[in-house]
Every structure is written in structure tokens, then in C-alpha cells.
Symmetry: C2
Subunit: 361 residues, 2 copies
């Protein structure tokens, strides 16, 4: 392959700001690394586009995402821009369903130079990955709920064998790669099997999948106990897999441990398609002021390069991903600190510094 | 009233250890404060009793709880002791339903002398209360779930107007009392109204209740964003109310911020009955070794005294609650530190020190 196509969806608010920064970084990294060029094409979607066009996720954008080799996503939505029925504009959830992006991969890693969140020194060693099942669980209920006579409302959490098995297998695959790098790996199933039938089923299917990976340790934790462990000894965590809603909550908690959503990349991965986006939203409070932390967007782009490298047997893209990560690490450790975590580097300053930290072309 | 009756359910594992410590402290505090005596009567329930009798929560114990003025609870359950259908022994959930204990009150407060969990100095100011709705939400599904053809399983989250309204009103009532003490108060509704119909309904009912308390500020947060806020600036939190499952996760997270479950008391309050218990479980890993942190049990007993004081117009019981809290604060700040948070004071040492910190009789 000489060129790979990426559908770029900047979206709204700081999504646009960090995306512009990311495109500049990707271009600079491409100039110094070999390997396939990326053809990055922007496509409209989101709350602002809904105001302009009446369409939050146009069919042409979905088609472009389907045809692209990968999807790079900023952030979408805006507090007061809603559909006529009052629901929020959340195209990222639609895309997860549309492209069956079942594995929500949320790596959490500490970077030297970041101000400490946890007092314990060992928090410098935080390096874990949460795999959030993303096509069912409680989110199965989205769009299906009803309020009965203004008196009650139910939403149903659905766990299937197939859904749990593929998310679990993804987590073990990820653990195998970490094991190659780190010598050992463990996958923890996070559930509430002590109370819910569906969660006991989730655990059972996880255990069956685990049996196929005898070289990877497997264990379980209740979701409430895991919330405590994340605060008390997150350095002991490795790979985890959990239900959609639990993963949503725990991944935000986890991002907080390393500084906030602006430090937390994510990948929504399916068997054919994948979407990469920072874990943060559009941040109306700081949008338009250039204050956003682009690190999560940069790290998400690095995850995209890794995924493309594997699928297209293009190891140069993996090199490019490592160059980007190293440039971020150098930037942070040399004292350029994003405003989000209390520093004074705005989005432009972070971007300049990161690009400057790439090796010379 | 010259005497109030308390049904005491020590339960299993460290539940028994911290309960024994608590009864000693309550006796000592009663000796130095005026007011009604407590008639504390132990009753069997839990995993150990199930092994002995085939009954995890005997009818006589339930009846004793019903007739008592309050219920004081240790912890129950044991990993390998299960009902024939494989489900765990969790009498505390049964009691919540049996006595309609809809408000799960989980105060989180920092005590000087505790080792720091969060690096930020402001974490010393952590002082908030989570009100967990405890009779419906996702826990409505308990005992109702099914697995269909080993292929899928559903659990239904149920939100009712009545259930949401009473939990919300409880939170505002609590905020009114905090306002009297602190000058201002705010109640935050924690939901996922952007995705789920039932959660939008929860928020709507909360807003209706909020309108009846114009002097208390009210706002909203999504549950994932709140998990982040709890890590990044928990000192800004005040009173919160949320769905059952969300409350379960967030309250463990919150306990972690002040040292762990052994620092987290709780009260399960209904209109007629109330149960007070430490937020921790039976801790099989340390049970029988005398290492448990009794602070959460002590603080739960203080919550019981406050609740009894209000219901029975017995201000001396409130004084007794303050004496216990002050004795815990003095103990911790003078360097007696529970093993749970890295100190060397075992359960007996913590208990001796706390009793010694009460004023002389
Ligand atoms: C925007 C929101 C609906 C979304 C979710 O809940 O999945 C976000 O919180 C996330 O984690 O990607
Ligand atoms: C023991 C368990 C079922 C219980 C719950 O989930 O409610 C506990 O975690 C709690 O928070 O009281």
C-alpha cells in the first residue's frame, strides 16, 4: 500500500481544535517516518452541522467512513443542540452500532512530567487498558426506552454470549501483545455477578474464553470493588474487560488518575472498521479559546497508526506511532504542561512542542 | 424514652470483629453521655449461620429488626458459601427491600491524620454525601433475571416516579440540614440522561422535587463525568443523589478517596426503619486476624445515634454521636493509624484509643 485513507470527523467544539492540531502532527510525523502516506479527508457531522443542514450524521459521511481504512474522530455534541424529541446529538454512539465497533479500548498511562493526582509514588507506574464492550449491555436500551404514564420507565441491559465472547477474546488478544512486551499479562473480568443474572452470564462466558488462553492469567472483580482498586492501587491493574455502562464510568475514573480526559485516548474497534477518538467531549466551557489539551487526540492517532500497521502489514506506521508517543512523552517531561492539568501550555503550544520533539526529517 | 432497642446483626468475618469493637465503644460513650440507654441485642444471620442452620436470614431475626428502634449491622457473606442455586448470601439486600430502606446514605469525609490518597492539598476538605436510591434502579432486576438458551441474558433497570421522588426529597432534606451547619448546600442529580429514557425520567422527577426546595441549589452531572470529578476535585462536591447501581460504584470510588471502605460508614434509611453498617464487606483475606479497621463501623453507629436522636427527640444521643466522631478524629490525628491505610493500629488498638479519647465519665 502506498496510501491509506482516513475519514476525518472533527465534529464540534474542542473536537475541531484538537483535530487541527493532530493533522499537523500527523503530517510532521509522516515527513520523518517512512511507510504509507495517509490521505486524510474531512467529513461533516455533529451538532453544528445539524444546525446548518438538519442532519447530524449525513449518509455521505457514513459512506466515507465505511470506505476509509480508518476513522479519526474529534468530539461531537453541544448542550443545547438537540433533536426535536429532546435527545442529544451523539453520532459516536451511532457509529459504534453502525460499524459494530464492539471493543472500546481505553489505555491509561502515566507520563512523567504530569502533575501527580494520587499521592502514592507508585502511581507513576499506572499502565493499564480497559476494554469496554460497546454494542450491547445497558446501551442496548438506547432508543428503546419508554416512560409509562409519567409513572415509571425501564431500560434493559442485554448481555449476549456472542457479544461477551468477542469483547473478552479482544481483551485476551491485547493481553498477549502486552505479554510479549512485558513478560506477563492478566485479564480481569469486571462485573456484578453477585447480584445480576446477566452479569453472572458475562462472567461465565469470559471464563470460557479465558480457558483458550492458558498462558494469560485471568481473574474477576466486582465493578464497585474495581472502582475502589482504581483509586487505591491502579498500578497493579493490567487488562480489563467489562460491560458497556460499567466501562463508561470506569474509563472516566481512570482518565482522572492520569490528569483527565485530555490525557485519555480511545479506540472503538470492530472486525472490519475502527474509529479513534480522544475520550473527552466538546468542552463548551473552553471551546474556541485554544485551551484544549490535544494529548488524547495525539495518542488516539498513534493507536490508529498501530491498528493500521497491523492490518496492512506496514511496520513503518508502528514506528510512526512510537515517534508520536515519544514526542508527547518528551514534551511533557521537559515541562511543557497542558492547561487541563494545571500548566500553561495551550493547544498551540502543546502542538508546537510535540512537533518540535519529533526527530529532524 | 429511657431505653431504645437496637437489633445487632454482626454477621460474618470482620463484621463480627468490628461489631464487637463498636459495642464496647457504644457502652463507653453511653457511660459518659446522658440520654436514653441502648438495649443492644445480637441476632444471627449471614453465611456462617446459613452453614449451621440452613437459613441465612431467619424470620426471628427479621422480626427482631422490625420491632427494634434501629438495626446495627456488621457485614455478611462468604466467598464459597452459596445458596443451592449458586447465588451469594447477601441479607443486606434483602433487608433493604423488606424494610423499604430507600435512601442509602454514604457520607465521605476526610480525617486529619489519614495518609493522603490524592496529591492535591484541597483533598483535606473532602466532605460530601452520596444518597443512593436503594429499592429499584438496576437492582430491581435482582432475582428476576434469566438466561435464555445459554445465549443471552437481560436485566431490567426500573425507575419509578415515587422511588425517584422520595430519594430526591431525602437528599434535599439532608442538604437543608447541611445548609444550617455550613451556610449553603447543593444537591447534584447523577444520571445518564443523555442516553437512557429511564435516566432522563430520573432527572425530570429530580427537577420537580428540586423546585420544592428553592433555597437549595440543584444541578446535574452524568455518571461518567462524576466519576472523573470525584478524582479531580472531590472537595467541590456536596450532596448527591443517584440510581442504585451508579451509587454502588460511586460510593466505593468515594470511599477510596479517604482511605478505603474501612473509613466509609453508611445508613440504609426508610420511612419507618433504618439500618446502619460500615460500607465494607466481610474481608475474608484478613478476617480472624484482628486487622480490620473499625472506623466505618464506629461512624455508622454515630449515624444511628443521630437518626435515633431525631426520631425520638433525644438530643443527648446527638451529643453521644458527636463524642464518638470527635474521639475517632482525635485518635486518627494523634497518629493512631488503622492498618487498612498503612498504619500499625489493629482493630483492638483503634478501639482502645478511641475509647480512651472519650471524655472521662
Ligand atoms: C458521549 C457519551 C454518550 C459517551 C458514552 O457514554 O459512551 C461517552 O461518555 C464515551 O465514553 O464515549
Ligand atoms: C454486597 C453488595 C451486593 C452490596 C451492593 O451492591 O449493594 C454492596 O456492594 C453495597 O454497596 O452495599
Amino acid at each position: 500500500t502506498t496510501s491509506l485513507s482516513v475519514a476525518v470527523l472533527p465534529g464540534d467544539g474542542i473536537g475541531r481544535e484538537v483535530m487541527a492540531a493532530c493533522l499537523a502532527l500527523l503530517a510532521a510525523a509522516e515527513a520523518v517516518s517512512g511507510g504509507p502516506a495517509l490521505a486524510l479527508t474531512p467529513h461533516p457531522a455533529g451538532a453544528q452541522y445539524y444546525l446548518e443542514s438538519g442532519d447530524a450524521l449525513p449518509a455521505a459521511t457514513v459512506a466515507a467512513c465505511r470506505n476509509a481504512d480508518a476513522i479519526l474522530f474529534g468530539a461531537m455534541g453541544w448542550p443545547d443542540v438537540r433533536f426535536p424529541d429532546g435527545t442529544e446529538i451523539i453520532p459516536q454512539l451511532d457509529l459504534r452500532m453502525e460499524f459494530d465497533l464492539y471493543a472500546g479500548v481505553r489505555p491509561i498511562r502515566w507520563f512523567p512530567g504530569l502533575p501527580r493526582i494520587l499521592a502514592d509514588e507508585r502511581a507513576r507506574g499506572i499502565d493499564f487498558v480497559l476494554v469496554r464492550e460497546q454494542t450491547e449491555g445497558l446501551f442496548y436500551a438506547r432508543g428503546r426506552g419508554q416512560v409509562i404514564e409519567d409513572r415509571e420507565s425501564c431500560d434493559t441491559m442485554r448481555i449476549t454470549r456472542a457479544g461477551t465472547a468477542r469483547a473478552s477474546a479482544f481483551a485476551f488478544g491485547l493481553a498477549e501483545r502486552r505479554r510479549a512486551r512485558r513478560g506477563s499479562a492478566r485479564v480481569t473480568c469486571i462485573d456484578k455477578a453477585n447480584v445480576f443474572t446477566s452479569m453472572a452470564f458475562f462472567r461465565k462466558v469470559f471464563d470460557e474464553v479465558a480457558a483458550a488462553y492458558p498462558e494469560i492469567a485471568a481473574d474477576h472483580a466486582y465493578v464497585d470493588a474495581m472502582a475502589l482498586t482504581m483509586v487505591k492501587k491502579p498500578w497493579a491493574l493490567d487488562v480489563m474487560v467489562t460491560e458497556n455502562m460499567f466501562g463508561d464510568i470506569l474509563s472516566d475514573l481512570a482518565a482522572g488518575l492520569v490528569g483527565g480526559m485530555g490525557m485519555a485516548p480511545s479506540a472503538d474497534i470492530g472486525d472490519r472498521h475502527a474509529l479513534f477518538q480522544p475520550a473527552h467531549g466538546t468542552a463548551p466551557d473552553i471551546a474556541g479559546q485554544g485551551k484544549a489539551n490535544p494529548c488524547a487526540m495525539f495518542l488516539s492517532a498513534a493507536m490508529m497508526l498501530d491498528w493500521l500497521a497491523e492490518r496492512h502489514a506496514a511496520p513503518e506506521l508502528e514506528v510512526r506511532a512510537r515517534l508520536i508517543e515519544a514526542a508527547i512523552a518528551v514534551t511533557l517531561s521537559s515541562g511543557t504542561t497542558p492547561m487541563e492539568v494545571g500548566g500553561d501550555a495551550d493547544c498551540a503550544a502543546m502542538t508546537r512542542a510535540t512537533i518540535a520533539a519529533l526527530p529532524a526529517a
